[in-house]
């Protein structure tokens, strides 16, 4: 029934599993994707949106590496927004509202078109492990499928328990069964498991809402897109979102249900995401705020279903309904389904290596929520990295990892395996030491060549990136060398209230002024001619604008990153005996023995390891 032995088996077909399967298969590994329901590939279990602050950057990185999430996000988008355009370029964050059904459909189509990839619908209930090496999986029907590597991407399905008010039932997602067996088996092998919680708001019928009472949130006038490839186009038409607010009345009604809330009556003990709190959590923690905002987001082009962002809740459904009715525009609201909370098993990610392979069992990889993360983008990027590394392992090639100064994906994985996480881990720009280097506009420069070298990113992508680089460099040089006369430039400066120049000078200096934009520059004939002549697209124009305007900051961050990399280069031998370091604190020795950092730099990020411990380590490593 199955191939004798697969190179890679991916368990679960959410965002992590789908990327993992695509990456492994595209790198030439014979791959099997096993999921409990093939109708729900890359399901958006929560909000119908991709990207956002820090997450948009990750999505661009996935695309630059040759993953599918960016492409699918583009083709299933119904609205595009570049967030934070008024801030520096490190903060510019692309986000789309997605057509939920289209998203899933396009993912499935892409996977079906991927060579080396087989599908099977069944619940994986266990692993086959021989001498600490994984050799395959067992299914609930008793089948055994052999594989050289296995990637677990179980999401919220492992012993998933759904809560609505004081009712709870097993499930992995609304309307889907939970998965049993794997946690117990892994624990028996010596893995440590934990429990986490997340939640989702109610979905409502758009026909029952009065949008005239809400504020319209439109997409960008000139929408962008995620993928660096030419395969996708930016949106011509967009759908709007809407904004409404809760009120004191709403809060009062919600409070009536607190005694039946699983969050407050003790039936949920696990930790939820502090940064994505439920509405009951918000009114409990920020008691002095008399209102909270809600974004009302359409679930697709051709559906009346809406997602009430900001109203995540596990209160009893009657309370959810009564409270929402008090919100502006929701007076006659009809529910498609109530919000709920879900508890699930995860495995503290400090049990993993940088490749996402487990330290305990060779060939076994974890990706996504099983590692304690939250978010589609976080999951997808882990899946991609696990898929790549499983494929490389099968081919007996060197592992593929990204550093903290190279990619948000590098920050994410390093954080997970070094520090672990006590609550669902979400990416923030502030988690990156050098966010000015990790921008959404340069993910291709940072990553595409690396991915091409390991055989994932296509040669077309590589060519596109090189072409963009060449054109950008040439355009930057143009600004450095091209002079402009006072007559040409002063009217433009005057218009922008920027002080006039009294002599001819290079364009670069003027462009570098804070409020002068590419648009202003293009009013100059010489600039516009250059753009036309070299057929420069938006990617190049944006790239050049960032490079010129933020040159000083980028340079500074590069220098700082080099400093960090110096410690990154001080390697720690794999079986280093920390008990020899008498001057190191006991806690540090214990933590380091467990985490087994590869470099002094990584060691310095382990919690409980303080700078003097790092000094001891450095001195021992011969520094």
């Amino acid at each position: 029934m199955f191939k004798d032995t697969y190179d890679v088996i991916v368990v679960g077909a959410g965002h992590a599993g789908s990327e993992a399967a695509a990456a492994a298969a595209n790198m030439g590994s014979s791959t099997l994707l096993v999921t409990m329901n093939l109708q729900n590939i890359a399901q958006m279990s929560c909000n119908p949106a991709m990207g956002g602050i820090a997450k948009g950057q990750i999505l661009r990185e996935i695309d630059a590496l040759g993953g599918y999430s960016g492409l699918v996000s583009d083709t299933s988008a119904i609205q595009f927004k570049m967030l934070n355009k008024s801030k520096g370029p490190a903060m510019w964050s692309p986000r789309v509202q997605s057509d939920r059904m289209l998203f899933s459909q396009h993912w499935r189509e892409r996977l079906e078109q991927t060579e080396n990839l087989d599908f099977y619908q069944e619940m994986v209930s266990g692993l086959i492990v021989l001498n600490n090496q994984v050799t395959g999986v067992k299914t609930s029907l008793g089948l055994e499928i052999k594989a050289k590597t296995v990637i677990l991407t179980n999401g919220t399905f492992l012993n998933g328990l759904i809560h609505i008010g004081d009712k709870n039932f097993g499930g992995g997602r609304a309307g889907e069964r939970a998965s049993f067996g794997i946690t117990k088996e892994l624990e028996d092998m010596g893995f440590e498991a934990g429990r986490m919680k997340t939640g989702t708001p109610p979905r409502v019928d758009g026909r029952s809402l009065d949008f005239t009472k809400m504020e319209e949130q439109t997409g960008d006038q000139q929408p962008w897109k995620f993928s660096y490839s030419n395969e996708t186009k930016s949106l011509k038409e967009q759908r709007s979102c809407w904004m409404s607010y809760t009120s004191q009345d709403v809060h009062n009604i919600l409070k009536e249900g607190f005694d039946r809330s699983p969050m407050f009556n003790g039936s949920i003990k696990s930790t939820g995401p502090r940064y994505c709190p439920s509405i009951e959590d918000k009114i409990h923690r920020f008691a002095d705020k008399d209102r909270h905002q809600m974004f009302v987001e359409p679930e697709g082009w051709n559906t009346v279903e809406y997602y009430v962002n900001g109203f995540s809740t596990s209160l009893p459904e009657d309370i959810q309904f009564k409270a929402l009715q008090q919100c502006a525009g929701f007076e006659n609201v009809k529910f498609f389904r109530p919000g709920y909370a879900i508890e699930y098993d995860y495995f503290p990610p400090t049990q993993l290596k940088h490749t996402l392979e487990t330290k305990l069992v060779e060939g076994l990889y974890f990706a996504g929520q099983i590692n304690g993360t939250t978010g589609y983008e976080e999951a997808a990027s882990q899946g991609l990295m696990a898929g790549i590394n499983a494929a490389l392992k099968v081919k007996e090639k060197e592992e593929f990892t990204l550093s903290r100064s190279e990619a948000y994906i590098g920050v994410l994985i390093d954080d997970l395996i070094t520090k672990g996480t006590e609550e669902p881990y979400r990416m923030f720009t502030s988690r990156a030491e050098y966010r000015t280097l990790l921008r959404q506009d340069n993910a291709d420069f940072r990553l595409t060549a690396k991915s091409f070298d390991i055989g994932l990113a296509s040669s077309e992508r590589m060519k596109l990136m090189e072409d963009k680089k060449e054109k950008s460099d040439a355009f930057v040089d143009f600004f450095k060398n091209q002079s402009v006369t006072t007559d040409e430039i002063n009217p433009i400066l005057e218009e922008k209230n920027s002080s006039k120049v009294d002599q001819q000078g290079k364009l670069f200096k003027i462009f570098a002024r804070p409020n002068i934009t590419m648009q202003d520059m293009r009013k100059l004939k010489s600039v516009e001619n250059f753009v036309k002549e070299h057929d420069l697209d938006n990617e190049v124009l944006e790239q050049v604008e960032v490079q010129v305007k933020y040159a000083g900051y980028i340079e500074k961050e590069k220098l700082n990153a080099d400093k960090l990399n110096r410690l990154e280069n001080v390697k720690i031998p794999e079986h280093f005996d920390y008990s020899l370091l008498k001057s190191m604190s006991f806690e540090a020795r214990e933590k380091l023995t467990k985490i087994k950092p590869r470099t002094v730099s990584q060691a310095s990020r382990v919690s409980g390891v303080n700078p003097s411990d790092v000094s001891v380590l450095l001195v021992h490593m011969g520094r």
């Binding site: 801030k87 490190a90 030491e433 000015t436 000094s615």
Partner: protein, 470 residues
């Protein structure tokens, strides 16, 4: 790289002295010394109690090298945290060398600079900032710099910087929050409060940076230029000052034959006296460079002491010789004009040869003239008081923080530079993410001082600053 070998070095200053101490540290310290030492009591080092002394001889085969005292420190209860033997021998350089060479031939390794302290650090006997302070402590040669080094060892101004760093960090976190939740309605960092904090930090940093000059002076001694012709009594004055304190610290040959530098501790503060020729004399010499050279030397000083050979301006009848006095006054005026900012101490030497009337005449021109006699040792206390009054030692006495470590000084300068950028950014309405770069950078430099960041370059530096044997 775990240290297992046994190291040896001279622990006292090199050169000859009454006694010298040779330190041997490492797992094999006791074993290596045992066959070389013949105790009077007959007890071998291996049987000697920890933290005890024994008299005996060190022998190379049959040959007795010296009669010595041997201290033994067993287990981890030593400076380095390793078994240690200290041999107190006689202070001749020859004997020191003989014993050390003998130990090396028996399997010890000559220690690197700072290696004993490095081992103490690695064995958990002290932390990094303590190790750094030890280096300063060893090189401190007057009570003020000793006090500074102790202050640093106890934490000193770093605790104040730690607080400021924490405040800055708190604001930085708020601003980061603001960035990552720009879409949600969270509380933003209050810009006015932040401005106030930035101003406060600027003030503290500037003060600490300024204190470096003071600290440096205290650490290295305050340079004092003594201006006066030969035979005016400069050496006698120095000796008089010395005799009072009996605390000569060093005697460094000057760059020219006629210049010597003496460091004298007065009231716990080091003063470095730079002898310069008088102006008149150099004016008379053919080489026009002479006066320039004198002025160069005075430039290096922070205090000018002008010594007048007062009996010379009076004749045998104790009457003033106006032209002589005029020349002296011109000299003084020229000096004062050239160095208007320098404290200027005017000493009328050989005052015991003057009449009260003579003194009145001179005082009429210079109210602050001090009448002394170096030879008779009168007025010496007044000089000391006067010199001390020039020192901004107020800071020290008030327990204010003074920066003496040049690494700290550099980090403070860099931190201030970043903070200034932050302020500029705030004034120009720079976006938060760019502001954050400068803040992070400032935090880094703060952390370099408070030990909250690890800097690999720094580590090498600290131990490299030690001399061998420490």
């Amino acid at each position: 790289m775990i240290h297992t070998d046994t190291i040896v070095a001279l622990a006292t200053a090199s050169g000859s002295g009454a006694i010298a101490i040779i330190r041997i540290s490492g797992a094999q310290a006791l074993e290596l010394c045992t066959p070389l030492f013949y105790a009077k009591s007959g007890v071998s080092i291996l049987d000697q109690k920890s933290h005890s002394l024994q008299l005996g001889t060190i022998r190379n085969g049959e040959r007795i090298l010296d009669e010595v005292l041997v201290s033994v420190f067993r287990g981890q209860r030593s400076y380095t945290g390793e078994p240690t033997v200290e041999i107190s021998c006689h202070g001749s350089s020859f004997i020191q060398k003989e014993i050390i060479q003998l130990l090396i031939s028996k399997g010890c390794r000559a220690a690197q600079p700072g290696e004993f302290t490095l081992r103490a650090f690695l064995n958990g006997k002290m932390d990094l900032s303590q190790a750094e302070a030890v280096a300063d402590l060893i090189s401190s040669d007057n009570s003020a710099s000793h006090q500074l080094a102790m202050q640093q060892m106890r934490g000193g101004f770093t605790s104040q910087l730690k607080e400021l760093r924490q405040e800055l960090l708190d604001f930085a976190s708020l601003m980061e929050l603001e960035l990552d939740f720009s879409e949600e309605d969270v509380e933003f960092a209050n810009r006015d409060q932040f401005q106030a904090l930035v101003l406060k930090i600027q003030k503290v940093l500037s003060r600490l940076i300024d204190s470096f000059a003071v600290g440096n002076v205290i650490k290295n001694g305050i340079p004092v230029a003594i201006v006066g012709e030969p035979n005016v009594g400069k050496s006698t004055l120095l000796n008089a000052l010395l005799n009072e304190e009996r605390a000569i610290v060093s005697e460094i040959a000057g760059t020219t034959r006629d210049t010597i530098e003496d460091e004298i501790s007065i009231g716990g503060i080091g003063f470095r006296f730079i002898d310069t020729a008088g102006i008149r004399e150099t004016q008379d010499t053919i080489e026009g460079l002479g006066i320039q050279r004198t002025f160069e030397k005075i430039k290096q000083s922070q205090v000018i002491v002008k010594l007048i050979d007062t009996p010379k301006v009076f004749d045998q009848n104790h009457d003033l010789i106006p032209e002589e006095w005029q020349r002296v006054k011109e000299d003084i005026q020229q000096l004062r004009e050239a160095f208007p900012e320098r404290p200027f101490l005017l000493l009328a030497n050989k005052a015991d040869l003057l009449t009260d009337a003579n003194k009145e005449i001179l005082r009429a021109d210079f109210k602050d003239l001090l009448f002394i006699s170096a030879k008779a040792k009168t007025g010496i206390e007044a000089i000391q008081e006067q010199l001390l009054s020039y020192v901004d030692a107020g800071a020290l006495r008030n327990n204010d923080s003074i920066v003496t470590n040049s690494r700290h000084y550099n980090a403070l300068l860099l931190a201030l530079e970043e903070i200034n950028k932050v302020q500029e950014g705030l004034n120009q309405g720079l976006t938060t993410d760019l502001l954050a770069i400068d803040i992070r950078q400032a935090l880094y430099h703060f952390g370099e001082i408070t030990g909250e960041v690890t800097n690999d370059e720094l580590l090498g530096n600290i131990f490299a600053n030690f001399c061998i044997g420490k």
